[in-house]
């Protein structure tokens, strides 16, 4: 599609003004702030940058915590996302559109509210508080709470990515596999998963980026305990509040670097997704074009 868009040379002063405005906006809002984070982080040289991370046990713990919470949350979302997308894309049932709308709740609700809701349920005074105390399970102000909060805010990302792709592919290949004798697992591993793999990866990358960067919901459920429940974004904020700007910027630069990696992965995956959808269109279009309408067999 992109190569069919018209190209237009910059001619009038208005053209020049609009182009300059667009470039300035992107530069001012995205490029300059991102560059300044790295500039600030490395202002004392790479040695100081490394020491700010490696020699501060609380920072080290925050990085480790983020690197464990995010994958667990993403793993939950992957399993949930595939199951939910399969349900929604392959079956019609009462309450289906309500369910699809509910998938979006984590996007529309402020993360702080989500965090508070989790406290109300899993906190010591909360709904499940006594049960959790009896089981000697600590959720709020602990690792499970972080995972819950992160899972909640990233919930829509995988399922939202999969539903349109699964709907576009349609059930035919899966039905073909069944009629050839495949059982449910064989259909999933050999047909469904290979067909949705790039969309799934796309969702996972986005969910992971969001999980790493989540602040609001995690802030509420974590209790903000340095060396225990501080994730990377919380650590950045705490260091900043303690007037340790270079250290804060150092952790921020790690987060920003993760974002850049995500960006590259996203671009690569999106290219694959486009190629796949072109493949699908090629296989289907030949069919659609030559399909004569049934009315051609009518009365002269």
């Amino acid at each position: 599609m992109a190569n069919t868009l018209p190209t237009k040379p910059v001619r009038s002063p208005l053209d020049a003004l609009l182009v300059t405005g667009a470039v300035a906006t992107i530069g001012l809002l995205i490029v300059v702030p991102l560059a300044s984070v790295f500039a600030e982080a490395f202002s004392q040289g790479p040695q100081a940058w490394w020491e700010a991370i490696a020699h501060d046990p609380d920072t080290r713990h925050a990085i480790w915590l983020s690197l464990t919470v995010a994958p667990v949350a993403v793993a939950f979302n992957t399993i949930f996302g595939i199951a939910a997308a399969w349900l929604v894309a392959r079956f019609r049932f009462p309450g289906r559109s309500l369910l699809v709308a509910l998938f979006d709740v984590p996007f529309s609700v402020s993360p702080v509210v989500a965090g508070l809701a989790l406290v109300l349920i899993f906190g010591r005074q909360g709904l499940l508080g006594p049960t959790l105390a009896w089981l000697t399970l600590k959720v709020i102000f602990a690792w499970p709470g972080l995972v819950l909060a992160t899972t909640f805010v990233t919930l829509p990302l995988v399922v939202r990515e999969l539903i349109p792709v699964m709907e576009a592919i349609g059930p035919e290949e899966e039905l073909a596999a069944v009629s050839l004798g495949a059982n449910g697992w064989q259909v999933f591993w050999r047909v469904t998963l290979p067909n949705i793999r790039w969309a799934l990866l796309h969702g996972i990358v986005l969910a992971n980026a969001r999980a790493m960067g989540e602040f609001g919901a995690v802030y509420v459920v974590s209790g903000h305990i340095a060396g225990a429940t501080d994730t990377m974004p919380l650590r950045v904020e705490k260091l900043f509040q303690e007037y340790r700007t270079p250290a804060s910027m150092t952790v921020a630069s790690v987060l920003a670097a993760l974002a850049l990696v995500t960006l590259v992965a996203k671009v690569v995956i999106e290219r694959r997704l486009e190629a796949e959808s072109r493949d699908l269109a090629a296989v289907r279009n030949v069919a659609a074009e030559a399909d004569p309408s049934p009315s051609s067999a009518g009365i002269p």
Binding site: E172, A176, S179, L180, N183, V191, V283, I299
Partner: protein, 368 residues
């Protein structure tokens, strides 16, 4: 394997896709389900394959009730309308799929797939992906994939719908040979009567979830059982006339119709096929004087009409006429050689005599 369909009904929401359909398909038959879209033919095919569950009714194969058997245990080969090839798999793996899920030893898979690729004339294309194949090649991969599991029943949903005309005719003849060689029972769905008549041993015409007629291609074509079948087969002249005293009247021209001996006149639809009409030039001299100005006075009653157009399409020439007292048009098909001998000209008057006519009465159950 013979298939016995007993009283199958299926609703989608408020839409009655199939309404108490029963059908027996003897072993070795190549049967066509012919009908317009929405007539329930694809739904019936999917129910036979177990891909759809009927609301009521039973399916039997060789006398064994398979209604509740899961699709993956039916061992039915199914070719989907748009083939539904596994896009990420090579042609080889597509064909091998049914064997792989059965944990067939690798050597055996290789031998069987090579044999099938040879059968569908795709030798050497095993490494291609479906997107790299032409429509006809994809269709043959889908067929090879369905045949790999050695099904007793082969079901095909609009198998040639997505192909261009030349490939379609070729594949049709090839499928017919294949069916005879393998000796299975095959059912295919089509909305193309030419396809159904050319390919099938038996044709089942469906409409609105019901079977309108079942018979050999000749039976269905020569003796359409209902107005729907007549209309659906198309290429027919339809007129509103009436019947009384063993005769049907078409523009005042009486035609013998012994099926209705009653004196009471009833409206009827008169169907005349273009190739079953005789056409003759009126003698230039002595235009017959008759009390009915619409038909001449010969022994055989005929209709006088004016030639509007003469158009040739291949071996047939179509002469479009207008009956004298009507604004409607009437088509007559002649072999082009015959038409050339007569060289009918637009504007001249001709006499048209039906060799064969079909009359359908509305609501036949009210006939006294």
């Amino acid at each position: 394997m013979s298939i016995h369909i007993r009283g199958i009904s299926k609703k989608f929401g408020s839409f009655q896709a199939l309404d108490n359909v029963s059908l027996e398909v003897p072993h070795g038959t190549l049967l066509a389900l012919l009908g317009p879209s929405g007539s329930g033919k694809t739904t019936l095919l999917r129910i036979i394959a177990g891909l759809e569950a009927p609301d009521a009714g039973r399916i039997e194969e060789d006398g064994a009730d398979v209604t509740d058997r899961h699709a993956r245990h039916r061992e039915v080969g199914f070719v989907f309308q748009h083939y539904a090839l596994f896009r990420h798999m090579s042609v080889f793996e597509n064909v091998a799929f049914g064997l792989r899920v059965r944990k067939t030893p690798d050597a055996e898979v290789r031998a069987r797939v090579d044999e099938l690729l040879h059968l569908v004339r795709l030798d050497g294309l095993g490494n291609r992906k479906p997107a790299q194949l032409s429509g006809g090649q994809r269709q043959r991969v889908a067929l090879a994939r369905a045949l790999a599991i050695r099904p007793k029943i082969l079901l095909l949903d609009e198998p040639f719908g997505a192909l261009d005309a030349k490939v379609r005719v070729e594949l049709r003849q090839w499928l017919r040979r294949l069916h005879d060689e393998i000796g299975m029972t095959s059912i295919f769905v089509t909305h193309d009567q030419e396809e159904a008549f050319e390919l099938a041993d038996e044709v089942v015409v469906m409409n609105q979830g019901k079977i309108e007629q079942r018979g050999t291609p000749d039976e269905v074509f020569e003796q359409p059982a209902t107005p729907f079948v007549m209309d659906f087969l198309g290429n027919v002249n339809v007129f509103h006339g009436r019947v009384e005293n063993g005769r049907a009247f078409w523009h005042g021209v009486p035609i013998a119709y012994p099926d209705y001996p009653h004196a009471q006149a009833r409206p009827a639809r008169v169907y005349l096929r273009p190739h079953e009409l005789d056409i003759a030039r009126l003698a230039a001299t002595g235009s017959p004087a008759d009390q009915n100005p619409n038909h001449s006075a010969g022994e055989e009653p005929s209709l006088l009409a004016e030639v509007l157009r003469v158009s040739r399409s291949g071996p047939l020439t179509r002469i479009t006429c207008q009956p004298r007292d009507s604004s409607g048009e009437l088509h007559v098909d002649l072999p082009t050689a015959t038409a050339r001998d007569h060289s009918f000209q637009p504007g001249e008057t001709v006499a048209i005599t039906p060799r064969n006519v079909r009359v359908f009465l509305p609501d036949p159950e009210y006939v006294i």
